[in-house]
């Protein structure tokens, strides 16, 4: 399953809930304000690294760029994808769950 999240992890618990519910091996794509969860050196880094050991974590490049977040400032293991990568992830998974 592909999980997407679009809320800031500092304002809502959508990222937390997504990481808790996603089965090992699932794809998790951070979009819109959820891309803030990808920044290294934050209080969330440990939680994200642990999640990344079980899940495939992605962040949407255009949303990172819009917010001024450089790709080299991200937590290791989070892969940046473009809109084409988003489409591929959606097409390859049977089901998409959007955590709002």
């Amino acid at each position: 399953m592909l999980h997407t999240v679009n809320k800031s992890p500092y304002e809502k618990n959508s990222v937390d809930t997504c990481l808790r519910m996603a089965k090992p091996g699932s794809d998790v794509l951070l979009i819109e304000d959820a891309v803030y969860a990808a920044i290294a050196g934050s209080k969330l880094e440990d939680e994200m690294r642990k999640a990344g050991a079980q899940l495939k974590l992605y962040a949407l490049g255009p949303d990172l760029k819009t917010r001024g977040i450089a790709e080299d400032s991200l937590i290791d293991g989070i892969q940046v994808v473009g809109y084409d990568g988003f489409v591929e992830l959606a097409a390859k998974n049977e089901c998409v769950q959007s955590w709002l």
């Binding site: 679009n6 809320k7 800031s8 500092y10 304002e11 819109e32 304000d33 803030y36 920044i39 290294a40 050196g41 934050s42 209080k43 880094e45 490049g61 255009p62 949303d63 760029k65 819009t66 917010r67 001024g68 977040i69 450089a70 400032s73």
Partner: protein
């Protein structure tokens, strides 16, 4: 009513693109600047993301309003307080923020920084001395 200057503080606690709060707040500050009050802005929680440098919204097609913060100095909005604890929790350093400055007309138009990184305790003191506080 006397022409009494009041201390206005605009508190910004939201990230810039996911909701319209940040843009609306900024527009309110610029409109309010016409009333020549003693204006300060505070950035805390996700509001610190508003000041992140290198924002480039071309690929999402959203309006990049971050350059507008550079105009605040021309409207005599020269006190932008950023909570250090909020920055640190989010993996940001002070040098990740835009270098916002203003020209100090009382000091030979010297260019000075508008952004002041303050602790939670210092920001709490700044809140206490205000006459009016707006929240976005």
């Amino acid at each position: 009513m006397a022409n009494q200057t009041k201390k206005f503080l605009y508190i910004n606690r939201r990230a810039p693109y996911g909701t319209v709060y940040a843009l609306e707040g900024l527009e309110t500050v610029l409109i309010g600047a016409a009333f020549e009050q003693d204006v300060s802005m505070a950035f805390m929680d996700d509001g610190v993301f508003q000041l992140k440098d290198h924002q480039d919204s071309g690929e999402t097609g959203m309006k990049n309003f971050s350059p507008t913060y550079r105009a605040l100095g021309d409207y005599e909005v020269t006190k932008l307080y950023v909570e250090r604890e909020s920055l640190e929790a989010r993996g940001l350093r002070p040098e990740d923020l835009m270098a916002l400055t203003y020209e100090d007309e009382d000091d030979d138009y010297k260019e000075k920084p508008s952004i002041h990184i303050v602790s939670s305790a210092e920001l709490a003191d700044i809140l206490e001395i205000q006459d009016v506080i707006f929240n976005f």
